[in-house]
Symmetry: C2
Subunit: 351 residues, 2 copies
Amino acid sequence: MAAQDSGPGGKQPTINDVAALAGVSKKTVSRVINRSQFLTDKTRAAVEQAIEQLGFVPNPQARALAFRRNFLIALLHDNPNAQTVLNFQRGVLDAIKDSDLALLVRPVDRGSDAMLEDVRTFLEKQRPIGAMLLPPISENDDLAALCDDLGVRYVRIGSARIDDATHCISSNDREVVAQAVRGLVSLGHRRIGFVRGPVGFRSAAEREQGFLEALADAGLDLPAELNAPGNYRYAAGVEAGEALLSLSVPPTAIFCSNDEMAAGVMSVAHGKGIRVPDALSIIGFDDSPTATHIWPALSTVRWPIREMGVRAAQTLVPDFLGPDAKGGGDESAVLASTFVERQSVAPPPGH
Amino acid sequence: MAAQDSGPGGKQPTINDVAALAGVSKKTVSRVINRSQFLTDKTRAAVEQAIEQLGFVPNPQARALAFRRNFLIALLHDNPNAQTVLNFQRGVLDAIKDSDLALLVRPVDRGSDAMLEDVRTFLEKQRPIGAMLLPPISENDDLAALCDDLGVRYVRIGSARIDDATHCISSNDREVVAQAVRGLVSLGHRRIGFVRGPVGFRSAAEREQGFLEALADAGLDLPAELNAPGNYRYAAGVEAGEALLSLSVPPTAIFCSNDEMAAGVMSVAHGKGIRVPDALSIIGFDDSPTATHIWPALSTVRWPIREMGVRAAQTLVPDFLGPDAKGGGDESAVLASTFVERQSVAPPPGH
DNA sequence: TTGTAAGCGTTATCAC
DNA sequence: GTGATAACGCTTACAA
């Protein structure tokens, strides 16, 4: 707390004021601010006392200029799932809490042709130390190349290893999906539908592979009529549900590539009077708020997004965080997703 | 697009390089950057040509230092509703898109005692031009006072006028809730339950008043047993649903102070085999993603949060945005919420 | 261990 | 209209 408030319009004390009050040079004050080792305890104490007394806060713009680097990191996202973005933000802020860093947020339009130029302008203007890319734009290699080009560090978040360990934080989605589907099989399900994610998304491909792996392990296959297209939107879930649940022999379980689509499938089931989970088991992916807000509550896969935020920050700017910030380079860049069991899964009818 | 990329490690061109190339002084370049009127078209053109050729981008840190002001605005929030926060961000970014401003994001912990000190530290460190406060922390007067104290502009977002017009963007929640409830009455509902928001929240009070107004207009009252406490959380909705739907004479309609609680009530209805909307009408508030992800889709109130973001930015920093950014001072600081009709409302049984 | 001088890239002042 | 020169608040040489 500032011992002496300048009040509105009052001038902030500068490093010179502190130096004068403490009776040292401004360079010495600078050393205290930057935790130099070469200082007598006495000098340090005197300076700290002066800082406290004046309520001095170093001007980050001046520091940024002198350091030829600012203290900003950026979060670039184009994510339809708000909760994911916010949880990630939370994690990043957990990580940088005790540092001098601040977080800049930038939504981008994946679809737009101007996207790359927008991001370039943004990065050139703000010159953040680094950028964190959330899926799905994290899958855009041009974006990563652009960061490299501009000398901006980057970390990409993905559902699988999409870059080397110092540039990527990922989760093990495929494994966890496989595990969830194996659970379905072990309950007795044999006819299991699948609602895909959007074409071209790595996350969608990972989830699909996990699903197919589990089926293959059980000696099952995925008939074409049980394989429905999707795009991570609720409406696609509704369409898929209409298609799958109108089959002459409908599936007894459906794995949806995300929660929104699972909610869509579930709505269709309700509309048709198909009881969940008694007559139909449903699994989603994301553990979004929706998962617990629908009825019955949805079994789903939770990815450790907040923790990924922490890890991403540590990997991006280990040198700006405490010495305990390991980050990067090791296998820990892969974090574990977990299967969350709720009420939307049960054995198939007759089991 | 930069005509000449410095590439990684290469040095950014500075104002001096531009000045040298254009054969003018750096002050003249500065004038071009800052759109001074006192310039020959010829000089301006020459400088712009040099800027283009070099791919020069002014260093914001240096500008910030010289201007004694940076180009950051901050968004402070402690909002359980991720979509709201993100939509608001979107609006703010719409507004500042063509300016030099960037957006800093800061989640805060409403509960924590250290909250005020945290925010103070943040504002002192970053010294943003202004801060935008999202509800519920926008309702905290100490926070507004702190901004004033530090010479940081602020705008508070609220569900009602909680500050003067230059410091507040609000919606007309009360009116719209009243309108929605009047709709219920005109369908024939007479026994209407209410699930409150958390104690002490202005938004909760506004919604409650709107509800009571509509009831009073119709000559109805709210019996104590139909008035259930809540806190904007799903679980509270479940509890309220259990209470209201176990009454010997249950309500035929329930207004919930937000969508999450409405989802909770709806889950209970499903569990008890009470058909929505045939046997029970439900209305929520927020138009969150949940509203369309549950079944049947929820009638709810949508507040114009993205537009509020635009307006908040315009009110906060009109001098940094285009001349068309009006902002502040007039009645337009109140934006209209709207009632969104979906499938969760119908006449009561027997009508 | 501390201080001095110079500079980071921009804008303000005030001449011309 | 335009340009020298001195800030802005801090850090990095390098010297003491």
